[in-house]
């Protein structure tokens, strides 16, 4: 900056002396030198955010208190909390909520445990030849789109034409119905979900494990710590933060799980795999009961936030000084 420019800025930003009138700065100066310029630069991003994120949420909240249906023959009217009260007496929706809750309760502990076990194996083999290539293949399921995963496993596990049952038949083992029986469909969807998402959780845990200083393990070894001591007293406390993040991500993933279920079972047989995402899609985009779908989505949003708070609390605990 030249001396002239420096002096000009200094003059412009100098505190007013008592004999100077308290005149407002010209607009150009406020934009160029004051806070206004910063706000103006932020404005396009804020507008885009408002248009694409805030407005749809506000709109969803607004229509959830009406009887709005796309392509309805009746006028849209304010109906207060009717949609929300109806949700609590809607057996199909409550059933879907229970299936989703069951999914969260079954899949997340398994995802965290299996993710940790895989991470341990991967980090133990970190320096072995071919480890990099193995890790690349290991993460491939997570990189696949869920619909492709659904179609892929749908064919493999098809009870009639699937290769898996063909292999079982070669060994004289009984055929399995997988996605097509109420007894096994839920378990099979959970298993396919884990196949896709455990590698991602393992990568998170592996990053966490690699950040733990080796000296801690060496010291524990000198003190005679066995493998389960290392797991329970070193890994778990130090991976709590990573585990909480993985838990939040998995919860959100399961609550909005759609493609995988739609591509394999469409929520059936019966309602054995009818998750809330499938049910909300059905209400909103097949039956076009838009306001009711908005109310259901908001309810799910609140539930998701509450569950996430549990993990956030766990995260905060890890930040407490020892």
């Amino acid at each position: 900056m030249t001396d002239i420019q420096k002096s000009t800025v200094a003059e412009r930003t100098a505190a007013p002396t008592s004999d100077q009138p308290d005149a407002p700065l010209p607009l150009r100066s406020r934009i160029m030198d004051g806070n206004l310029g910063g706000y103006l630069l932020l404005l396009p991003a804020v507008l885009i955010l408002a248009l694409l994120t805030i407005w749809p949420i506000v709109y969803s909240i607004a229509i959830s208190f009406t009887n709005y249906r796309v392509n309805s023959r009746q006028p849209t009217e304010f109906i207060g909390l009717d949609n929300f009260t109806q949700l609590f007496s809607d057996d199909t929706f409550l059933g879907a909520l229970w299936i989703t809750a069951k999914f969260v309760l079954v899949a997340i502990p398994l995802q965290l445990i299996l993710g940790y076990v895989c991470a341990r194996i991967l980090s133990a083999a970190h320096d072995m030849p071919g480890a990099r290539i193995f890790r690349t293949f290991f993460i491939v399921p997570t990189m696949m789109t869920s619909l492709a995963v659904a179609l892929f496993w749908g064919y493999i596990l098809d009870p009639f034409i699937g290769v898996y049952n063909w292999i079982l038949a070669q060994f004289g083992l009984p055929q399995q119905e997988f996605f097509t029986s109420t007894d096994s469909a839920f378990r099979t969807v959970v298993a396919v979900y884990l196949w896709q998402w455990v590698p991602f959780t393992a990568m998170l845990f592996m990053a966490g494990l690699l950040s733990i200083p080796r000296q801690i393990y060496e010291a524990a070894s000198i003190d005679g710590a066995r493998w389960y001591h290392r797991v329970l007293q070193i890994d778990f406390p130090l991976l709590k933060r990573v585990g909480a993040i993985a838990g939040i991500l998995a919860t959100v993933e399961i609550i909005r799980l759609f493609d995988l279920v739609y591509g394999t079972t469409q929520g059936g047989p019966g309602t054995s795999t009818l998750t809330n995402a499938i049910e909300i899609f059905r209400i909103g985009f097949q039956d076009f009961n838009t306001a009711y779908a908005a109310a259901a989505s908001l309810l799910i949003l609140v539930v998701t936030i509450l569950i996430s708070q549990l993990f956030v609390r766990a995260l905060k605990e890890t930040e407490q000084p020892a």
């Binding site: 023959r73 098809d158 009639f160 109420t182 469409q266 929520g267 059936g268 019966g270 039956d287 009961n289």
Partner: protein
């Protein structure tokens, strides 16, 4: 030839004989043949119309949204002739059943002009009344010899009309037929089922029989939701006195005057019980079977019979998709009462929100595509006959032997065999969810159907229909 060497008498006899031969030839063929010959060659009205279309829309684009059903390649092939004739580029966007409905309804709600021609299914009629231009005035102005409106199947004329307003022209109607493997049936001495008892007996007899140990009996549309919901409507009317709603039955003056659901009626229960009874004779995974899977089972020789829309029938004759090319046949749907054949399929509507010039082009396309002449070309390419004259066409009858079954069943269908109101999708899905619960054994059939009655009854009551408690 040197005619001078024949005597005058011989020449006279030859001329009379030739004249007689021509007269006999003209009178001897039946009217249908004459009509179909005219259809192939093109009527005067058709020639006049196509002459007027030559290069009329050069540089313009016509956009069509349609289902991605097996007729689409034939549709595109036929539409390409319109491009050649008029110079217009025809763009066809195709989507699966649920997505196409979703996109069309949203486009309708947004008053979008993205598509000029909207292809819709029979149960969607009321849903498109507000976003399609009612074509009654255009039909009146059009050349009746070109349109030949009365030549469309009566059931499809009714299906494209809502409360006196015509909202489209049918071009690919479907009917549900019984398809069976002739090798298996003949080998086991069976006839195609005439009643539901026959249907169960045949399924049992053909299921992993000694002679055909790798073949299962049949496959139903049991998948949860719209698949099994739709199947219910195919069967319910064929139990004596069966109807889904109080005033919905063939011959009803107003199918929507009393929408009290009757899913838990004895006939409704019998329908679901029939589905249950057939599960042991279906391939593994019966509870998740849908339209595509069961047709693939039939075409690959894994099941002995399937009651399926005729849209899939040509695929059984396609050597690339089928191993039963020469060993399959069709028959009418089985029934325990008077036969009611399920109708569905596709019609073209004019998007009300399109630009007027685009609408004119779309109307020309719709007229041209549904003329008897183009209908024959479309059917030859793999499409479906929307007209009586197309169904009678001799060449098409040679190409598609199953047309004989169509001739038998089309008069037994009625437009409202599935509701055509805005709530149709919701009704079919909700019903399908409850039936699936019953098939899976989560609840009893009675409980499932009572729950369907209550849920669908409440929905219809809310929508303003008469529903008696």
């Amino acid at each position: 030839m040197n005619w001078s060497r024949f005597t005058h008498k011989v020449r006279l006899v030859a001329a009379v004989a030739l004249t007689l031969a021509l007269v006999v030839g003209a009178c001897g063929g039946d009217d249908d043949d004459a009509d179909s010959q005219e259809a192939v060659a093109g009527s005067a009205a058709y020639k006049k119309f196509t002459d007027g279309l030559k290069d009329k829309y050069a540089g313009k684009e016509l956009r069509i949204i349609t289902i991605s059903d097996p007729f689409v390649p034939a549709f595109k092939q036929t539409a390409a002739e319109f491009s050649e004739l008029t110079g217009a580029k025809v763009t066809t966007d195709q989507f699966g059943y649920d997505p196409v409905y979703e996109k069309e309804i949203l486009a309708c709600e947004q008053e979008s002009s993205t598509y000029d021609v909207i292809v819709f299914d029979v149960p969607w009629t009321e849903a498109f009344v507000d976003c399609t231009e009612h074509i009654d005035a255009r039909l009146k102005r059009a050349d009746p010899e070109l349109i030949k409106y009365d030549d469309f199947f009566p059931v499809m004329r009714e299906a494209t009309t809502w409360k006196g307003k015509t909202i489209g022209l049918p071009f690919a109607p479907y009917f549900v037929l019984q398809h069976y493997n002739t090798e298996v049936y003949e080998g086991l001495g069976l006839e195609p089922a005439k009643t539901f008892d026959d249907f169960v007996t045949n399924a049992k007899a053909t299921n992993k029989s000694e002679e055909f140990s790798n073949i299962y009996g049949t496959a139903l549309n049991n998948q949860a939701g719209s698949a099994v919901g739709q199947a219910f409507f195919e069967y319910i009317y064929n139990f004596p006195g069966g109807k889904p709603f109080e005033s919905m039955y063939p011959g009803s003056k107003d199918a929507y005057s009393d929408m009290t659901p009757l899913f838990s009626s004895p006939q409704g229960i019998e329908t679901v019980e029939l589905f249950k009874k057939l599960i042991p004779y279906e391939p593994p995974g019966a509870l998740n079977t849908d339209w595509t899977a069961r047709q693939s089972y039939f075409n690959t020789g894994k099941i002995a019979s399937v009651n399926q829309w005729d849209v899939t029938t040509p695929s059984a004759s396609d050597p690339e998709q089928s191993v039963v090319v020469d060993t399959h046949a069709t028959a009418a749907f089985p029934t325990d009462g008077e036969l009611v054949t399920q109708v569905g399929g596709w019609s073209m509507g004019l998007n009300k929100h399109s630009d007027p010039a685009q609408k004119d082009m779309a109307w020309d396309f719709m007229q041209w595509f549904t003329t008897p002449e183009t209908s024959v070309a479309f059917s030859k390419a793999g499409g479906f006959p929307p007209r009586q004259s197309t169904l009678e066409n001799a060449e098409l009858n040679d190409q598609y032997p199953w047309y004989s079954t169509l001739k038998e069943v089309i008069p037994t269908s009625f437009a409202d065999c599935r509701p055509r109101i805005k709530e149709s999708f919701d009704i079919i899905n909700t019903l399908g969810t409850h039936i699936s619960e019953a098939l899976a054994g989560d609840v009893s059939t009675e409980e499932a159907m009572k729950a369907a009655d209550e849920e669908i009854g409440a929905m219809l009551k809310k929508a303003g229909y008469t529903v008696k408690s």
